[in-house]
Symmetry: D2
Subunit: 139 residues, 4 copies
């Protein structure tokens, strides 16, 4: 599988009084990259939603290595690091596009819920989606 890379620019309103991007916004950048990842692997959000499957965040973490400032162009490499139909983990690396320096790494953990909020296994409730995600897992 080709590497999936999501580009975006830092917005003014994402900075704080330290003149850097506020740390909470990286969690939002991860979500943008995850959304893009799902699109790229053929399961954009509206397809998942039509299948009445929801995937809440169980855990999120970020490690900040370098700061980002307004106007910085960044790219994010989201990866599916674990998937068993019931749980799904992604990792993220955010790079500053001007020098390719790694500025932040992170992880999110997810499960799958049906319409009634019950935990489900994709293997059972959507085998096709299950196979698609399984094929994306990298170590």
């Amino acid at each position: 599988m080709e590497e999936i890379i999501f580009f975006r620019k830092v917005n003014y309103y994402e900075t704080d009084q330290m003149k850097f991007v506020h740390h909470s916004n990286y969690i939002r950048y991860f979500e943008e990259a995850r959304t893009y990842f799902l699109e790229e692997v053929g399961y954009p959000y509206h397809i998942i939603e039509e299948a009445k499957i929801y995937s809440p965040v169980l855990k999120a973490e970020a490690e900040y290595k370098k700061s980002l400032t307004f106007g910085d162009e960044i790219y994010i490499k989201p990866k599916l690091t674990y998937f068993n139909g019931v749980r799904m983990n992604l990792s993220y690396e955010i790079y500053n596009a001007c020098d390719n320096v790694l500025v932040c790494t992170g992880k999110t953990e997810h499960c799958f819920l049906n319409d009634n909020g019950k935990v489900v296994s994709l293997k059972k409730c959507d085998p096709e989606m299950y196979e698609a995600f399984l094929a994306c897992v990298v170590e």
Copy 2:
């Protein structure tokens, strides 16, 4: 009717790189004050929602007079300036609590929708709520 006053403090993550509160956050402060206003007049959000009535924002505006910084204590005076059962306008004044200086004024305009997204008149669909809001209107 007694004046309704909503207090809160400026959060760090609401500042931007100019070291002041980002202007978009005042629109959120207005919403907090509006929520508090509805509670105070006996119609907290969950009561309105149980009546299957929704009140989207049609228009919002803010005029910034002074800046606010992290840690500032502020108070907001929300007022119902217009209400006819179909439309509802509120005004807001934000004051810095340390010197009682007016830092921002604003307005929002709202209508009422039912469960199907149709515009409704509170006078017809909830006369009691209609009377309650009517009694709060100030010029």
Copy 3:
């Protein structure tokens, strides 16, 4: 001058429990479009900042005509509607890219400050920038 058009997609974290984009985020979309506008006319933020000129928002308003949902592709047309060296007004039109329907209009008003927070006229303190902005004004 060619029309300046800024594209972006609606993010998941910009929605609220009504399942639409929260109204405060349109103010942030305006800022993104304004940033793009300044880049396109040759005065990206860092150039303005290097000239020690700051341009705070004095007033912002938005009128919401249609709702936006997660994943919607939108485009924004920012326009410089007034400029006299001391004050600058912009207008914004947000369109849903799927049907070209106008979903939101808005305005922002700005002044210019120097390093000491004093109001300045661009005509005096940066005639080149003044001429560049003046050439962009549309009715």
Copy 4:
């Protein structure tokens, strides 16, 4: 030391289209609780800033156990779990005030910087603050 407890209510604009608080906002709640903690132990932000000391976030993580919805009253217990003058770790527990159920846990890691962005030890550059923080550490 008495337990420090920070109260607040969930705002409407913090929800997302799942009708729950968006996961990125818990990171902001942690910051609010941290700010309150520093105030309570005698070192509010402006005092730290006057000492020309900055404390960026090196790492942040959250584990989501239950969802929160608009209007929920919550309380957060921030704790200083590690401090050696150079590094500082805090943990957070967020509870729903209506049933005292733990809804989220989290951690943040911080260092200390001087005015020039250099890492400093509080033990050397501000022994009084060092002793104050040291006295707050709990396992």
